[in-house]
Symmetry: C2
Subunit: 226 residues, 2 copies
DNA sequence: CGGCGCCTTGAACCAAGTCAAGCTCTGTGG
DNA sequence: CCACAGAGCTTGACTTGGTTCAAGGCGCCG
């Protein structure tokens, strides 16, 4: 039985949520069993590019990855940000439709998609896990669309901040530039900057440094995001 | 071997593209084999609601369906529009996160998700097909996000029109209201109306009636959308 | 024929984009 | 250790396009 089709809440042990690209223990084990190659990418390096064959599956060991797409008008649309433990690859078709780049120095395990497919054919838990990952991509993408549909810049930014790790009354570490945030939220770098300044002036957040934010009033962010 | 993981282009016979929710012949057959119940929904009727258990899979026999989500500020975000032959259900988690409503009088086949899961357990082609459907949802959602990221209203509308059936130099039939389009594109009904009027004034499209559009210059739409 | 949904259009306002300038941080070389 | 350079971030002034507010038209169905 494949978990992603179930609806009775009887998840198999170790099943991760439907919203994370985090590899389950079973999939993590599969990377080891297939003796994944470990690669290092310097800040800014390209992991794979739009248009190239999607014949590998990647698991981020450490670091942060930006997924983006070049629009025909020259603008760049950032689609997602990925962090340690997350997996990319299974959601792609035959060719990549996006570019993946390291935002910081990043270590990644790589396995051939074919090897993983062979394994999945004999191990239904892997099949289910890969399916779950695809659903996670779907849910994240829809969440992103919901962010983009927000009318005001501050609402979008609030939603973005809330989705970051440690947002609930903690500290947020942003590995991406303001430009990245802007390209993710469909805003200019100026508007992002202004919105951040505004939130700070209102006492909702505090800038520890340019890339580190402390959330002072998570409820206010919640309320802004609506 | 499950097709969605393959990258060598050797798709199984009858496999549909990765961007459509269209049921493959195999899945269509499964609906019949499981003796799907046929239900009729009047225009405006609710098929399933946000929050209710996602224990069924639906196949649209005829009609048109609107998928939407209620935002906490009272606004409604339309996520997708579905038509004859398309399948919804497998992409949901335990509970629906969206509401599905009939935009016109609609006929739908319904099977229990559990029954389909049982079938998928013994028939890998069904498993693969359900997975492909999930990927289709992902791709459509990302496409939608890309539309929403466009800065100008006319660009968004052009992209929306191009994605409609029969857009390439043909006629487009819109089952949805202007409000639906606005809620899909993150625009007000006014802006949608103005943009349509503008495209018509420029000779790019022609309004045969309020809900029927003839595309006169598909290339101009393409260029607008960028 | 009247009423109601749905659509269009005009005018005024405002938030985000654009243009332009200056600041901050970081890393590097003297 | 300090000076410098460059990338990244912030801020101000102005412009523009989408929302808001308001009014009116079209078309369908009872």
């Amino acid at each position: 039985m494949i978990a992603a089709l179930q609806h009775d809440g009887s998840s198999p042990p170790g099943a991760a949520g439907v919203d994370t690209h985090q590899a389950s223990p079973a999939l993590e084990a599969a990377f080891d069993r297939l003796s994944a190659r470990t690669r290092r990418f310097a800040r800014g390096a390209e992991i794979f590019a739009e248009g190239c064959p999607a014949d590998k599956v990647y698991r981020i060991v450490s670091g942060a990855v930006r997924i983006s797409r070049l629009l025909s008008d020259g603008r760049r649309q950032v689609c997602d940000f990925l962090y340690s433990g997350e997996v990319l690859g299974p959601e792609a078709g035959l060719a990549h439709r996006t570019t993946a780049e390291a935002m910081t120095d990043t270590v990644i395990q790589v396995v051939s998609r074919k090897a993983l497919a062979d394994l999945a054919a004999s191990d239904l838990s892997i099949t289910g896990e890969l399916w779950r990952l695809s659903l996670a991509w779907f849910n994240r993408s829809r969440q992103h669309a919901l962010l983009l549909a927000r009318q005001s810049a501050t609402e979008r930014l609030a939603g973005f901040l809330l989705a970051q790790e440690g947002a609930a009354s903690g500290e947020i570490e942003l590995p991406m530039t303001r430009q990245d945030i802007g390209d993710y939220l469909g805003l200019t770098i100026h508007t992002v900057s202004r919105s951040i300044s505004q939130l700070q002036a209102e006492g909702v957040i505090e800038l520890l440094s340019q890339r580190r934010i402390r959330v002072l009033q998570a409820s206010a962010l919640d309320h802004l995001h609506g």
